[in-house]
């Protein structure tokens, strides 16, 4: 039923990348495309530069831990087009044993800290990120707290000032 009102962005994406777009949906009015993680930079560059799409704002980047599913992690990008007043959500699955995806900083420079946060909270490694360090937690913190298998009640020693 959702097929009839397929959005321009999703249509263009499927037309351009074909099999690299794993699936699309527009549930709840949010256009969503799941793409292969190898293509993330290409897809993002296309979405930003295509004159019919112009997704010039990268509003948000986060990760969801689907513990028990394979691949385990899903990196989620929320984009907005100022000119077209449209939104799109791009997702890419990342497996637990190799949680690596390319950085999109060359496409939107503002994604820097969002990627650091996803690394901090979920342990996703953004390849070619210039400064992939923890951002909310301190450097000595062990583990990635927003992973579903990180117990909420776990305590770690608080640290003093660095020597």
């Amino acid at each position: 039923m959702a097929e009839e009102r397929k959005s321009v962005a999703l249509e263009k994406l499927v037309g351009r990348f074909g099999g690299d777009i794993v699936s699309t949906h527009s549930e709840f009015g949010d256009d969503t495309a799941l793409v292969r993680r190898e293509k993330i930079v290409e897809v993002c560059t296309f979405l930003r530069d295509d004159p019919d799409l112009v997704f010039d704002f990268a509003m948000d980047l986060t990760c969801v831990d689907y513990l028990g599913e394979e691949p385990r992690f899903e990196v989620v990008y929320h984009l907005y087009s100022l000119a077209k007043k449209r939104r799109v959500r791009i997702k890419a699955r990342v497996p637990e044993e190799d949680p690596v995806i390319d950085t999109v900083i060359p496409v939107w420079v503002g994604m820097d800290w969002y990627e650091r946060e996803a690394y901090d909270m979920y342990g996703i490694v953004f390849r070619n990120h210039p400064n992939l360090k923890r951002i909310l937690m301190y450097d000595q913190f062990v583990g990635h707290p927003l992973r579903k298998d990180y117990p909420k009640a776990r305590r770690q020693p608080t640290i003093g000032p660095e020597e």
């Binding site: 709840f28 704002f57 509003m59 503002g110 800290w113 909270m121 951002i135 909310l136 909420k152």
Partner: protein
């Protein structure tokens, strides 16, 4: 870095120490107004490199919300932007309602608009007031603090029972309706307190040569850079980009009101001040129109799946009692799916990305705090400028550590 090279050359020519000085600012510093930290590399008084650091106020909002019910999370959202908590409540409720496919009642939408705009006004007042304190203009702080307290005392406290931890929205409506006479008080506060305060500060600052020379050209940003860095809200509009979700997406009932979106030109501290001042006047316009047209009727949708039954029902009727019990213990049942819902908060786009696997609580909530990209942009705004300007710029972008760290 060009400034660094220039500084080094100049220092060598004068036979001075050429190593830049490292200055730590924060995490507890009067000018940060929150637990923020900067590590500044200084050449003389020029900032060569600025490294912002935060996380001191991290309270695990996202982790905690994964083990609470949908309605319990409302109270956590108060603690995000604690200067305008009602807006966070509204944004969160709208996101969950989008997932549930709920259309809230007309009266509820109007009330949400009114409380959001009051929140925007007091948020801007805090921002401008504290910004001016840092620049030595203390009077404006008092002029803006008084109306803020009046809004708390006469409007928000009678409405929610508290000042900051409001927790006023529910999935499918509000906790309760406006108290008697609230509309009249709202009109009174606007007329007697808010508008005179805006006029006073306007008279003191807007054409004040000292203020303009202190802020013009300080911390500028181009539209292109602001977009690439994900700036939203007054900081983006000050750079000349007319993005305002109230106009562009027309959520709630904003498309029914007549208001303007002010924009600046340079994206500097002065423009950010001007945009905020005009936005407060526009918010007043919206509130006046909304109060004028405020419809009657219920504030909550009539659906036993989402609303709590009335106390009278609960005490006399077994179905209502069970319904009440299920709502409190298990939480509102939300369908499986994912949504992203954005509202125009005082600082910019406040987005909630929510994943539900069904059941009474969220599987994942991610907040897109408007401050996050703004704080990230601080080095871009400040590098190459004077160290004293850091204080001016930081105040004008209005970083709220509560939503920055979550």
């Amino acid at each position: 870095m060009t400034e660094g090279v220039a500084y080094r050359k100049e220092a060598e020519a004068l036979d001075m120490q050429a190593e830049p000085m490292i200055l730590n600012i924060g995490p507890s510093h009067p000018a940060t107004h929150a637990t923020l930290r900067f590590i500044a590399e200084l050449g003389g008084e020029t900032i060569l490199k600025l490294t912002p650091e935060f996380g001191y106020l991290h309270r695990c909002f996202e982790k905690e919300s994964e083990s609470h019910t949908w309605t319990q999370v409302v109270t956590y959202t108060d603690r995000l932007n604690y200067v305008s908590p009602l807006m966070n409540n509204v944004g969160y409720a709208m996101a969950v309602e989008k997932l549930c496919g709920i259309d809230v009642t007309e009266r509820c939408q109007y009330i949400r608009v009114i409380i959001s705009e009051f929140s925007r006004i007091i948020d801007h007042m805090v921002c401008i007031g504290t910004n001016m304190v840092d620049l030595g203009a203390l009077t404006n702080f008092w002029y803006f603090w008084k109306p803020r307290e009046e809004v708390y005392m006469h409007l928000i406290e009678p409405l929610t029972g508290t000042r900051l931890t409001t927790g006023y929205t529910r999935i499918g409506g509000m906790a309760w309706d406006l108290p008697d006479g609230w509309e009249e008080k709202a009109r009174g506060v606007i007329k007697n307190v808010i508008l005179p305060a805006i006029a006073d500060v306007n008279a003191l600052l807007t054409k004040n040569r000292i203020f303009i020379e202190r802020t013009m050209g300080v911390g500028p940003i181009t539209p292109k850079e602001a977009i690439a860095r994900g700036f939203t809200g007054p900081c983006l509009r000050a750079a000349g980009v007319p993005l305002d979700l109230r106009k562009d997406e027309g959520y709630l009932v904003y498309d029914r009101f007549d208001f303007d979106v002010p924009i600046g030109e340079q994206g500097d501290t002065c423009d950010r001040y001007m945009v905020r001042m005009e936005e407060m006047r526009q918010s007043v316009r919206i509130i006046e129109q909304a109060l004028e047209r405020l419809p009657g009727g219920p504030v909550n949708i009539d659906d036993p799946r989402f609303g709590l039954p009335s106390k009278q029902e609960v005490y006399t009727n077994i179905e209502a009692l069970m319904n009440h019990f299920k709502h409190i213990m298990d939480g509102v049942q939300v369908p499986v799916g994912e949504v992203y819902s954005a509202t125009e908060a005082a600082n910019g786009e406040l987005g909630y990305y929510i994943v539900s696997k069904g059941g009474g609580g969220p599987y994942k909530i991610k907040v897109r705090p408007p401050c996050f990209p703004l704080f990230q942009g601080m080095p871009h705004l400040c590098e190459g400028g004077m160290i004293a300007d850091l204080v001016a710029v930081l105040g004008s972008v209005n970083i709220i550590a509560g939503e920055l760290d979550r």
